[in-house]
């Protein structure tokens, strides 16, 4: 009984997924592209870097990269704290 209920629920959910996948926008044509056009046109002159991805990661969204570096630092602190009793 439980299996049948879960099966019907899964079928309904999966049909919704199929319908939304069919109605999806074609690849490479987003609805709003003001942000992308701004980066592509102005990143080279504003940041002076040829690599637009790096200029986004380290300049426009530098705060995000600060968070990633802090997460890595915290991971290392956690590993060292886990094995802190181990003498060489």
């Amino acid at each position: 009984m439980k299996k049948i209920i879960f099966g019907i629920a899964f079928l309904i959910f999966f049909s919704f997924l199929i319908v939304s996948a069919i109605n999806m926008r074609t690849f490479g044509e987003p609805a709003y592209s003001e942000m992308d056009d701004y980066f592509i046109e102005n990143a080279q002159s504003e940041t002076g870097a040829n690599n637009v991805v790096t200029s986004v990661v380290f300049d426009y969204r530098g705060f995000d990269t600060l968070g990633e570096a802090t997460v890595l630092f915290t991971a290392v602190v956690g590993v060292i704290a886990l094995f802190r009793g181990v003498k060489k």
Partner: protein
């Protein structure tokens, strides 16, 4: 971890310098070619892991010092935060060196071009800081886990 055979050690001696140089190349050219601090640091960290696997954890502690790597990790993160704060005259993480004519301050040529190393403002310095942090973080994690595994094995035997 035991050391591996003579073949593996010879190939490691031949190849690990090239891997480390390739990683530093990816870090230093992060503002011109695909890659950057995180990716180059991961490449150099994989070279450390190769050294550790082929030479064993007891032998590799002669040339991979955990304390020095830990020091470099903190230094990299502090350098990154200082670079973020030094643009604080306008906004946090402002690129104050770009197009200024000084360090890394040349203006980039607009359009498709191979690029100039002396551009990018604060981005190459941040790449170096993040790369230093990531490579030493990988080294510290691998070395700590290897020495812990050695300790556990010794405890099980006794």
């Amino acid at each position: 971890m035991k050391e591996m055979s003579r073949i593996v050690k010879t190939v490691t001696n031949f190849v690990y310098g090239f891997i480390i140089i390739f990683g530093f190349y990816i870090i230093a050219h992060g503002h011109l070619t695909p890659g950057g601090g995180f990716q180059g640091g991961a490449v150099v960290g994989s070279a450390f892991a190769l050294l550790l696997v082929s030479y064993g954890s007891l032998n590799s502690q002669k040339f991979l010092k955990k304390d020095i790597l830990s020091l470099f990790e903190g230094f990299g993160l502090i350098l990154f935060i200082v670079l973020g704060f030094s643009g604080l005259g306008i906004t946090f993480f402002y690129n104050f060196l770009a197009n200024s004519g000084g360090w890394f301050g040349n203006a980039a040529v607009i359009g498709v071009n191979p690029g100039n190393m002396n551009t990018g403002g604060v981005i190459p310095l941040m790449n170096i800081a993040v790369g230093l942090e990531v490579l030493s973080a990988f080294g510290v994690i691998v070395l700590t886990m290897a020495s812990a595994a050695e300790f556990t094995k010794k405890k099980e035997k006794s």
